[in-house]
């Protein structure tokens, strides 16, 4: 267990307790959430609540980065935002941080909600990733993080 300071894209920082223990992704479930155009959560399903470890009132209106794990490189999220702001679909493997400091891996797909030609928000659906892909990403993200911190 260790305390780590995490810096977010909007300049805010927070200290999170990190526990090096993975919570397995439940078979067959999809984690669904929806945000406004700024990334603040407007809807989520029960699987999202269960896996995040937060209560519903702690999530509603909060930025999605509440789940950001310090092992995730900033470049991954920069790519996500650059892609969805263009109106395109983004896919990738993400290590998420739970409220209790543990983590879970997801395969995430994010799409813009386009209404009358305008992006009004984003929907994200996460599903269970393969262990092979997770292992590949562990190595890749380590390298990316090292480059960001050098």
């Amino acid at each position: 267990m260790s305390d780590v300071k995490i810096s977010y894209y909007d300049g805010t920082k927070s200290v999170k307790t990190i526990v090096d223990e993975e919570v397995p992704y439940p078979d067959g479930k999809l984690i669904v959430s929806r945000t406004d155009t700024f990334g603040n959560m407007t809807h989520f399903n029960q699987a999202f609540v269960d896996m995040s470890g937060y209560g519903e009132d702690e999530l509603l209106g909060k930025s999605h980065y509440i789940l950001r794990h310090p092992d995730m490189p900033a470049a991954a999220f920069a790519d996500l935002w650059n892609t969805i702001k263009k109106g395109e679909k983004w896919k990738g493997y993400v290590k998420n941080l739970r409220k209790d400091g543990k983590y879970y891996w997801v395969y995430a797909v994010v799409v813009p909600n386009v209404r009358d030609g305008k992006i009004v928000g984003y929907a994200s659906v996460r599903r269970k990733p393969s262990r092979t892909k997770i292992n590949e990403c562990v190595e890749l993200y380590k390298t990316m993080l090292a480059e960001e911190q050098s």
Binding site: K29, L30, V32, V109, A123, R127
Partner: protein, 252 residues
């Protein structure tokens, strides 16, 4: 003017009579002449949708996306508390206990149901399986899928959960469920065409009122029971659009 209604071909055979009863109920309530056309295959149904031969449809989420965004259909209602889920089964005598036990090169049996195939393939992803490293055999219906599992021609089979639940005890005793989706948010939807709204005496709200109050009368309630659900749940435009967005995340 005569209109045509159809139902996604993945409906349970137990509900065929129910859809005819529903069609009669709808004709009486709406005072419109409506012909019910049922299809055995998704392909033939899609041909007729593309040819603008369909005016009302109880569509699976996969087809609802196309009907709303490409054909201008309007979503009216979905079955209350009834979502579309898929399951993966194996032969009951096999050694497979979870998806990760299935290996590249295995054979998967599926019915001609794009939505169930999509969810089924997603549930295979944790085992690093995709259409590129497995053999997918497609059959006309779920009984054929079960037969292929029982005869051990297929290692695993995809089923609409409702179809699996409705199978006989004899079939179920020979197959074993290894994973069931819990998606909850993807549902069949009753849609009406722009042609129906333009040329019938009912507007969109009129159709909504009919379906949303259907469970309040004895005849309506018994008809709904024969379709396998309790009542209709109103689905507004935004809910339908959001479901389409979610479907988009599931399709590569």
């Amino acid at each position: 003017m005569k209109f045509t209604m159809t139902v996604s071909p993945d409906f349970s055979p137990d509900h065929i009579a129910g859809w005819y009863v529903f069609n009669t109920w709808l004709q009486i309530q709406s005072e419109q002449s409506i012909h019910l056309e049922l299809y055995n295959s998704f392909e033939k149904q899609r041909e007729d949708i593309k040819a603008d031969k369909i005016d009302l449809i109880y569509a699976n989420p996969y087809d609802a996306s196309m009907l709303i965004r490409e054909k201008g259909f309007v979503a009216i209602a979905s079955p209350f508390q009834k979502s579309d889920e898929a399951v993966i089964c194996v032969n009951s005598e096999s050694d497979y206990t979870c998806v990760e036990d299935l290996k590249p090169g295995c054979t998967v049996a599926t019915a001609d149901d794009p939505q169930v195939s999509t969810i089924g393939m997603i549930m295979l992803e944790p085992a690093d399986l995709s259409s590129g490293n497995i053999t997918v055999d497609e059959f006309k219906n779920y009984v054929m899928v079960a037969k292929n599992l029982i005869s051990k021609k297929a290692d695993a089979g995809f089923f609409l959960k409702e179809a699996y639940d409705d199978m006989s005890k004899f079939i179920k005793s020979q197959i074993r469920l290894i994973v069931s989706s819990q998606i909850s948010i993807i549902r069949h939807t009753f849609l009406v065409s722009p042609n129906f709204l333009e040329n019938s005496s009912l507007d969109e709200q009129g159709v909504r009122n009919l379906l949303n109050s259907m469970h309040e009368t004895e005849k309506g309630a018994s008809t709904l029971k024969s379709l396998g659900f309790e009542k209709w749940d109103n689905q507004d435009h935004e809910e339908a659009e959001f479901m389409i967005d979610l479907m988009d995340t599931l399709i590569d």
